[in-house]
């Protein structure tokens, strides 16, 4: 298990991390979300010792993360980069050996991963001779070639075409199924919703929401209700204080309701208005939870915090 405990880091006057705490379990996929500048990359750099936190620590399997622990981690930084003129096969083998593999094991692992990513025939090519998409695949292979127990990927989906996205998703799932803990950051929230079980949302250097996506959704009091009634102008919904009308288009209405709203009552009202075609009750999308979580605290909340 990876534990991020109370990390704080400041660059000059800029606060990058302000007491961030969360965990990543083996075999689970954590989507690490947050607006630009929220502290995602700094957190990842702290995990790899690339940034030194002013406060707090990173623990792995209960102990402090040291160099030996990091040999079991795989990292794909946001700023992609490998040696442009080095041959693909030698490059992967080099990184595998730097993670403690023997030369022979590194060669074998390189072959396996190139095969797996469909690049077995490019083993002797220089990296710069590969297409952008294939260079991204090699970058992923660099993070995976030593068979890590923890995978940290910073924006792994950025710049990928649909095929690349599919490969990335498949590999992430496969690794997690093999017991690897995966932490990845992304701005593509719909994708995150498809790929991850857990999310951690960071804003202004602090964790503002964390947990399994389903639980976060359930915990949110907001629900979406979409109702379509043939031959109705939608007047049946008017006058209810517990319902917010988001959109009304003839017989179709999109509503935002509280999770304690009496559904039976609404269903009966809709039936009464005409022929019911659709009645769908949904938890909010991840993107809504995200917006809600990262919203700037309003002045009232800040005042409250200061007072407390």
């Amino acid at each position: 298990m990876l534990e991020i405990i109370d990390l704080a880091k400041r660059y000059g006057h800029v606060v990058a991390l302000d007491g961030a705490t969360f965990t990543a379990q083996p075999g689970r996929i954590v989507g690490f979300l947050g607006p630009n500048g929220a502290g995602k990359t700094t957190t990842m750099r702290c995990i790899f010792g690339l940034a030194r936190p002013d406060r707090g620590e990173v623990r792995w399997k209960g102990g402090r993360v040291d160099r030996d622990a990091r040999l079991r981690f795989g990292y794909m930084p946001e700023q992609r980069g490998l040696y442009p003129r080095m041959r693909v096969g030698e490059q992967l083998a080099y990184f595998a050996q730097q993670h403690g593999m023997s030369g022979q094991a590194a060669g074998a692992a390189t072959g396996r991963w190139l095969e797996r990513l469909g690049l077995a025939d490019r083993r002797k090519s220089k990296l710069e001779e590969l297409s952008h998409g294939n260079q991204q695949r090699i970058q992923l292979a660099t993070a995976l070639v030593h068979d890590p127990e923890l995978l940290v990927l910073d924006e792994p989906f950025s710049g990928l075409d649909p095929l690349g996205t599919a490969t990335m998703t498949e590999v992430i799932h496969e690794r997690a199924a093999a017991g690897v803990g995966v932490v990845f950051s992304s701005h593509q929230l719909d994708l995150v919703e498809d790929v991850c079980e857990d999310v951690v949302i960071i804003a202004r250097g602090r964790i503002v929401a964390a947990g399994p996506i389903d639980e976060l959704k359930a915990a949110s009091g907001r629900r979406h209700l979409e109702v379509e009634v043939a031959g109705s102008d939608g007047a049946w919904i008017e006058g209810r204080p517990d319902v917010e009308v988001l959109e009304r288009n003839g017989g179709r209405t999109k509503l935002l309701v509280d999770d304690r709203v009496p559904l039976d009552e609404l269903l009966a009202a809709a039936r009464g208005a005409g022929e019911l075609r659709r009645f769908s009750y949904q938890p909010p999308r991840l993107s809504e939870l995200f917006m809600e979580a990262v919203a700037e605290p309003d002045a009232a909340t800040v005042a409250e915090e200061v007072a407390s």
Partner: protein, 398 residues
């Protein structure tokens, strides 16, 4: 995994990647060609210094051949005598440059005889032959006049020669080796030290450094890089020296003084120390730059120091190898690599001083690794613009 394995892997990567690159191989072949050329071209262009061949008509006066050869020796001209029994064949040999001159003097010295040249007389050779013939004639006349041969020989003995301040054996070569050492170390700094500098900047520019540093400690990456490129530098240096020695031994009778092995060992030690010191400094400064265009900017201070040390070594130290400037500069790590081998080649430094200078330089290198390693750690991931030394130091703070 041990840090040593990590450092060695970095070094191995540098050796393999750079050693196989076209640029490295071309520059090595090109420089080797220049070295071999500089030894062999003069011999090819200006002819070899073989003996001058002189033909004489056979029968010749008794002792003429010996007289020409010994007179030639006195005038520093090596002569080989070729007898011809007919004047026509002798002249033909002159015409086709087989011999430099043909001498036709009657065996009984009854006539003054001829010297045949191809185009015009070579005055030196002409002088040698003239003196030889004249000496034979004088002897002949004096012998006929019953002069005592012993008195004659005594009369012909030249004064003995003495030099008040004879040059030491191999002094020129010593001087050459001293100079060569300073030049090689300067080349080591500028060629391989800058390879370290550009290597560091390239890693930053291609962003690969973040992947590397996620497992390799910054100090180890710097050390491995300096080590690997240094191995290449030594391979290249050894290659050049061997090529130079082989070319020299094939083309001339150039002899190395007995002090050469000692001087070569000093050269290698100081090449390694000087390279390590300067390339570490350049690697650290390289980390402050984020693009290649900034690299020459950040390296300027080191370049200036290296040049200054070199000029001190070729002006102050060669003039006065025991003077205060030379002594002080021997114990400053940044200048010692260029000063000490020079003084050693000139025999102006004691082994104890050499040992002390080596120790001081190693301490300097260690201090640089500690300070530079921290600056490097702080700067290696900073990819926006040029970083200040102080900021890099702080950002890696404990």
């Amino acid at each position: 995994m041990s840090r040593w394995r990590s450092i060695l892997l970095v070094a191995k990567r540098e050796v393999l990647e750079r050693g196989r690159s076209r640029g490295f191989i071309f520059s090595m072949l090109f420089t080797t060609a220049i070295i071999i050329g500089s030894f062999t071209l003069p011999a090819v262009l200006f002819g070899n210094d073989g003996p001058t061949r002189v033909g004489i008509a056979d029968p010749a006066p008794a002792g003429l051949d010996l007289a020409i050869v010994t007179t030639g020796q006195l005038l520093d001209l090596e002569v080989e005598i070729v007898p011809f029994d007919q004047r026509a064949t002798g002249e033909a040999a002159v015409a086709n440059r087989d011999i430099a001159a043909f001498v036709d003097v009657p065996a009984d010295l009854s006539a003054s005889g001829d010297i045949v040249f191809r185009e015009s007389a070579d005055p030196r050779l002409q002088g040698v032959i003239n003196s030889a013939v004249a000496a034979l004639r004088t002897n002949e006349v004096l012998t006929e006049a019953n002069v005592d041969p012993a008195a004659l020989q005594a009369a012909q003995t030249p004064p003995t020669v003495q030099a008040l301040d004879p040059p030491e054996e191999g002094a020129d070569i010593q001087f050459l080796i001293a100079n060569l050492g300073a030049v090689l170390i300067l080349i080591g700094v500028f060629s391989f030290g800058f390879t370290v500098l550009t290597g560091v900047v390239e890693e930053k520019q291609s962003r690969v450094v973040e992947v590397v540093l996620s497992t390799v400690l910054p100090r180890d990456l710097l050390m491995g890089k300096v080590f690997g490129i240094g191995v290449l530098g030594l391979i290249q240096l050894a290659f050049f020296v061997v090529a130079g020695l082989i070319a020299a031994s094939l083309t001339s009778d150039f002899e190395l003084p007995a002090t050469t092995p000692g001087a070569a060992v000093q050269l290698v030690i100081w090449f390694i120390l000087g390279y390590t010191l300067y390339s570490t400094a350049l690697g650290v400064l390289g980390a402050l730059a984020s693009r290649m265009e900034e690299a020459s900017n950040v390296s300027t201070p080191v370049t200036l120091i290296a040049m200054a040390a070199y000029f001190v070594s070729i002006f102050a130290v060669i003039d006065d190898p025991d003077g205060p400037v030379a002594v002080i500069a021997s114990f400053v790590p940044l200048s010692a690599p260029m000063i000490v081998p020079q003084r050693a080649a000139l025999g102006a430094i004691t082994p104890i001083e050499i040992g002390l200078a080596i120790a001081v330089t190693i301490v300097g290198i260690y201090a640089l690794f500690v300070v530079g390693g921290r600056v490097y750690s702080g700067a290696a991931l900073q990819t926006a613009g040029r970083m200040k030394l102080r900021d890099a130091w702080r950002s890696a703070g404990e």
